[in-house]
Symmetry: D2
Subunit: 116 residues, 4 copies
Amino acid sequence: MNDSIQFLTQKICSFRDARDWRQFHSPKDLAVAITAEAGELLQHFVWKTPEQSEARVVDRKAEIAAEIADVAILLMEMAEVSGVSLGDAVAAKLALNEERYPAAKARGSNQKYNEL
Amino acid sequence: MNDSIQFLTQKICSFRDARDWRQFHSPKDLAVAITAEAGELLQHFVWKTPEQSEARVVDRKAEIAAEIADVAILLMEMAEVSGVSLGDAVAAKLALNEERYPAAKARGSNQKYNEL
Amino acid sequence: MNDSIQFLTQKICSFRDARDWRQFHSPKDLAVAITAEAGELLQHFVWKTPEQSEARVVDRKAEIAAEIADVAILLMEMAEVSGVSLGDAVAAKLALNEERYPAAKARGSNQKYNEL
Amino acid sequence: MNDSIQFLTQKICSFRDARDWRQFHSPKDLAVAITAEAGELLQHFVWKTPEQSEARVVDRKAEIAAEIADVAILLMEMAEVSGVSLGDAVAAKLALNEERYPAAKARGSNQKYNEL
C-alpha cells in the first residue's frame, strides 16, 4: 500500500476538486471540520477511565478507525490549502520535540517541557 | 523525504517509548490531546471570515504548520495505540466518500451526504 | 449579586451591540469561539490524571475561572442569537436527564443512558 | 422561572450526587465532556456559510437548544467542582472585556484586543 502523505493528499484534493468543493473549504472551514471530527473521536471516551479507553479501542475498532481517518483526511487537506508540506512539518516538529524533551529529563514524567 | 505514515508513526512511537510515556498515552488521553491541539489550530480563525482565513495561513504559515503537525503526530500515535493502520483507514474512508458523494450529485453543494 | 442568566445575557448583548459586533457573531462563529475556548480549558488537563486535575483547579483557580467564564459568556450569546431561553433549555434538559438516568439504575455507573 | 446560575448549579449537583457520579466527574472529565458537547454544537455548522448558520438555528432550534443546554449544564458543574462562582467569574470577565475592548476603538472590528 502507498501510505505516503503526499500521495494521499493528492487523492484527497482530486476528490475535492472533482466536486468543486474548494469554495467551501477555506482554512477556517477545514479547521472547524477538523475540530468537530476530533470531538466525535473524543465522544468515545467521555466519562471513561483511561483503562476503560484501552478496552474501547478494541471493542469499537472500526468506528474509531473511521473517526481517526476523518481527522487525518481533513488535516492533509488543511496542510495543502495552507501551502504546508505535512511530512516536512511533522519531521520538523519531531526534531523540536527531541530538543524540548531530552529523554534523560522527560522519562516517566507527564509535565510539559516548560514545566520540566 | 520519507513521508510514509508507517515510517513517521515508528519515529513517533520510538520517541514516546524512549521516555516511557505510553503509561500516560491512553487512547482517551490521546483523543484529549488531539482535540486540544485542534482547538489551538481553530484559535487562528475565531471571528475571522473565510476570506480572512485564506490570508491568515499565508501570514502565519510557520505557526499554522506547527499546529497541523501537532495534531498529525498525535493522530498517528492514536492510530498505533488503537491497532489501526492509518494509511488503510484513510484509503477505506476515501473509498466510502466516493460512494457517499458521487461527483455528479455533490458538485458545488455543501450538503452532507444524508441531506443531498 | 445578580446571577440570573437573563440578566447576564442582556449585559453581554449590550456589550456586543455597543461595538457593532453582531455582524461577526453568526451562530457558526459563536459555536467556533465556544469550541476554541473549551479547547483552552481542556489544555489545562492534557496528559494529566483525573487526580492531578483535582489539584490543578486549586493551583490555577483564577485562570480556570477565566476560561470557564469565556465559554459561559459565549454560550449565553449563542442562546440569544438562536432565540433560545438558556434557563428554560437547561431546565428542560435536566428534566430529560432525570428520565434517562433514574437514580436507582444509574447510581455508581459511568455508562451512557442508551448503554445502561 | 428561576434562572439564577447558583440555583441551577445546585439542581445539577444534587442530580449528580443522587447518582454518586462525583467520582467520575473530575475537572478533567468535565472539561472533556464540555469540549465533546461543544463539538456536537459545532457539527451543525460544518461547511456552512455564516449566513446559512443563521437559518440553521431557526430550522433546528430544538436540537440546538439541547446542545447549548448540555454545554451549560456541564459548565456549571465544572465551576462548582473548581470552587468557582460562575456568576462572579462572568461578571469579572465582562469587566475585563470592557477594558480590553473600548467601544470607540473596537467598534466594527473583529481583531483581538492585542491586535487592535
